[in-house]
């Protein structure tokens, strides 16, 4: 018996890591018109970006249903001391809400702790990984809960987008509306803060955007964990990861991850993100 970790697909955890640490990922739904897909199950990232680039109808996303969470909690809960269920910002998605309701209704004997990370992508994924590693080493419910809370508080996400178009059309733009301008082409740089998308910078060239991204990261000092997330440019992400690894402790490698279909719907092709957990006090 152990503590089990559940998350949703907007955490963008690479599947081999989810497998290795026994993390259950509940997929979000991506819809193109009447075609419905499950994030990462029957719709790959490659396919999503191909369709975004080809133009035509833009997809919409929706959170996993209460039923889907119920099914997961009841299955996972059969042989668990407890479930820690860690999710995308409730201000961006109804996922947390679905999970909360499912946790009330689930007929399981163990406690279910549902966490709103106020984050997205690997800024969810990194705390999830920290929790899963502790759980795998036998940490109890309280201990895993404390690890998650601490990591979530120190978890950050900044991203440089090829265009603001997808965030805007997807209705998740929030205060980054300030970046919208029609006269000049810019590569918007955004940050997730207190669960919301905020504007950060308006670089006009990609090169300058990457510089801004690195500068913003380096200002945070020592790091506990780092992930570089890409939508279509894997080489760029790997290069950036090796460049930024210096702020990590010895032996800790940055994780290169991919914006999956659900988040990809909003960040669009070419996006590069940094998720990181700053070193604790």
């Amino acid at each position: 018996m152990a503590v089990k970790i559940v998350t949703d697909s907007t955490g963008d955890i690479p599947s081999e890591l989810a497998d290795r640490y026994d993390i259950t990922v509940v997929p979000a739904t991506v819809r193109f018109g009447t075609e419905t897909y499950h994030d990462g199950v029957d719709l790959t990232a490659d396919e999503l970006y191909r369709r975004l680039t080809a133009g035509g109808e833009l997809p919409t996303t929706s959170q996993p249903s209460i039923g889907e969470f119920l099914e997961v909690y009841e299955r996972v809960g059969q042989d668990a001391d407890g479930i820690v269920s860690i999710h995308v910002s409730a201000k961006l998605s109804g996922t947390y809400n679905s999970a909360m309701q499912a946790s009330d209704q689930a007929s399981v004997d163990c406690p279910i702790d549902v966490v709103d990370t106020e984050q997205a992508s690997m800024a969810i994924g990194l705390p999830v990984l920290a929790a899963a590693k502790a759980a795998k080493e036998g940490a109890g419910m309280d201990e895993v809960g404390a690890i998650v809370d601490s990591a979530v508080q120190r978890s950050n996400c900044i991203a440089l987008l090829g265009t603001l178009e997808f965030l805007q059309k997807g209705g998740r733009i929030g205060k980054a509306q300030a970046l919208v301008g029609t006269i000049l082409r810019i590569h918007p740089m955004i940050v997730l803060s207190e669960g919301e998308v905020l504007p950060m910078a308006k670089p006009r060239t990609w090169r300058k955007g990457l510089q801004e991204l690195k500068k913003a990261y380096s200002q945070h000092g020592r790091m506990e964990a780092l992930s570089v997330i890409y939508s279509t440019e894997r080489d760029e992400a790997e290069e950036l990861a090796s460049e930024l690894s210096g702020q990590l402790p010895e032996g800790v490698e940055p994780i290169v991850a991919r914006f999956g279909p659900a988040l990809g719907t909003y960040v669009g092709p070419k996006a590069i993100g940094l998720a990181f957990i700053t070193a604790g006090a």
Binding site: I183, L184, K202, P203, R204, T205, K208
Partner: protein, 567 residues
């Protein structure tokens, strides 16, 4: 100085506050008559010379400050003049002129009258204040002229010369200094011109000298000859800076009306219009580009002037004055547009507001769209005064205001505005529109103003600025030969290309900038249409396949293309 002996007898040895007002009034009138000539003394053959206009408007405000009843001492009059000069100063030359008046005010503090010794000490103070006003004082400019004037006054004082002789010596020193400016400043030498601001100061002082000597104000104060530039190979610079015919006509004394207007149209032939206007007016000045031409002339009957122009395009900013009347309307006609009040002020002020100077509807929209709460619309070639900047800044919603001058000649007035405004003004010293746009995109209303202004200053430094326009005269600069009417390209203020058509010049400009894979943004205006701008961009894309091009409507006057190059 053959007139010294005769004028010495009648000219007063000390000058009262009232006389000072009269003399400066005379000087203003003389300067007014020379505005266009001074404007034409432009280093670069681009159509934005406005030194004369800036100096005139500054001086005009100085004279107006002394209007109204009441006896004043010379010291009191000088103090009032300085206050006005400081608030109304526009352009680099206006700012230095205001510092000249500061020196005068300091030198005359507590003085009842102005005599030879006060004159000498006032000029010494003016020299100190003027040099201090400039971050990096450069010789061969107005500063040199002030320096030579101060020296001449000190020598005359030491020799115990009467005031009239001292003024003659100062005037002669000023003219000498002006003639020598090209020997000190390579850029003047290359362009084959004397320093415009220096000549303006010399003209102004000549007005004071004439007034003191008791010369009657002529109906038209007269255009003075520009001292011949020393150290310039005149055969190398092609056509003279100011047309011979203009000077020949301008020497006449005229009566009637002073008529000014702007002709706007397409493919205007400046020379042809000038020839037509010249037939029906005197003191004719016709300057401009194929899209906008400024016409100035004196005529007993203004009708034929108007008729001659109306066939070529639309007339605007028509001003007609009886030459007996004074110059108030002139100032009004040249005044920059008032700051647009309350432009799209955000409902909730952030930590700071942004106010920017912009020209042209496209650029004004752009600055608004990316966060400027106020736009100071300086008209073509017009620099806003310190007072106008203060007004625009005061109208902004936040207490902390970040200001983008977007023109190197507006930076001094902006700095002066920062000193007198009740708000906290952070001047980001953008010298060009492309720099201003780079800074603009770094603006964040929520972050601290000081920190934000510093980041914006850094952002501005990251772009190169280019301009494509029409050469206003034949010139050879930086080894580039440009014929009048040719298309020319300037990169960060230096002439780098001349040729025929925007596409060729743009390509040469980008070559000079060493463009490889940069983002090149072209803001089109100055009569160029979108198709022509897009064509130039396409041609450039072929030559610079790695670079990215973006074509944006600027709507700016004079400049066919403003070019931003950033990595």
């Amino acid at each position: 100085m053959s007139t010294d002996a005769s004028t010495r007898l009648s000219a007063p040895e000390t000058i009262t506050g009232e006389q000072l007002r009269e003399y400066v009034g005379f000087a203003t009138e003389l300067l007014r008559a020379n505005v266009e000539v001074i404007n034409s003394l432009n280093v670069f053959p681009v159509p934005d010379g406005d030194t004369g206009t800036n100096m005139f408007l500054t001086l005009d405000a100085v004279v107006k400050a002394l209007d109204g009843p009441g006896e004043r001492t010379a010291g009191e009059a000088a103090a009032l003049m300085y206050d006005a000069a400081m608030m109304e100063a526009r352009g680099n030359s206006g700012i230095i002129l205001s510092q000249f008046f500061k020196g005068l005010a300091v030198g005359l503090e507590g003085s009842e009258t102005l005599g030879a010794s006060e004159m000498a000490s006032a000029l010494a103070e003016a020299r100190t204040a003027s040099y201090k006003a400039v971050a990096n004082p450069v010789e061969g400019t107005m500063l040199t002229v002030i320096d030579w004037m101060a020296r001449a006054s000190a020598e005359a004082e030491a020799a115990g010369e009467p005031l009239a002789v001292m003024l003659s010596r100062i005037g002669a020193a000023a003219a000498d200094a002006v003639a020598n400016t090209p020997t000190m400043l390579a850029v003047l030498r290359e362009a084959g011109v004397v320093d415009a601001g220096g000549h303006g100061l010399s003209v102004m002082f000549e007005g004071v000298r004439r007034a003191h000597a008791g010369e009657a104000r002529p109906e038209s104060a007269g255009v003075l000859e520009v001292p011949e530039a020393i150290g310039v190979d005149h055969s190398a610079v092609g056509a003279g800076v100011v047309s011979e015919s203009f000077l020949a006509h301008a020497e006449h004394e005229e009566f009637g009306y002073c008529v000014q207007f702007v002709v706007e149209g397409e493919g205007l032939d400046v020379d042809a219009i000038r020839d037509r206007i010249m037939e029906v007016s005197q003191s004719t000045v016709v300057v401009g580009s194929s899209e906008a031409i400024r016409v100035h002339g004196h005529a007993e009957d203004p009708g034929p002037m108007i008729s001659a122009a109306v066939a070529h395009g639309q007339l605007g900013r028509v001003s007609m004055q009886n030459m007996d009347e004074q110059h108030a309307e002139f100032a009004e006609a040249h005044r920059a547009a008032p700051p647009a009040a309350d432009d799209a002020a955000p409902s909730t002020p952030g930590a700071s507001s942004l106010v920017a100077v912009a020209w042209g509807d496209g650029l004004e929209d752009l600055f608004r769209e990316y966060g400027s709460s106020g736009i100071l619309t300086a008209g073509d070639t017009m620099n806003p005064s310190v007072a106008q900047i203060v007004e625009a800044v005061d109208a902004a919603p936040a207490q902390d205001v970040i200001f983008l001058p977007n023109n190197k000649n507006i930076i001094p007035a902006a700095n002066q505005a920062a000193e007198v405004s009740n708000k906290t003004l952070h001047v980001v010293p953008t010298r060009t529109i492309p720099q201003g746009i780079a800074a603009l995109l770094g603006y964040n209303a929520e972050s601290g103003a000081e920190e934000c202004a510093a980041a914006m200053t850094d952002a501005a430094a990251d772009v190169s600025s280019g301009e494509v326009t029409t050469a206003q005269r034949t010139v050879s600069l930086n080894g580039v030969e440009a014929q009048e009417g040719q298309t020319i390209g300037l990169l960060d203020g230096a002439l780098v290309a001349a040729g025929d058509g925007e596409a060729a010049v743009l390509a040469a400009l980008l070559e000079a900038a060493g463009v490889e894979d940069e983002l090149v943004t072209l803001y089109w205006g100055g009569g160029l249409d979108e198709d022509a701008a897009a064509e130039a961009a396409e041609a450039a894309q072929t030559e610079f396949p790695e670079a990215e091009f973006e074509v944006v409507r600027g709507g700016q006057p004079h400049y066919h293309l403003l070019v931003s190059i950033e990595r």
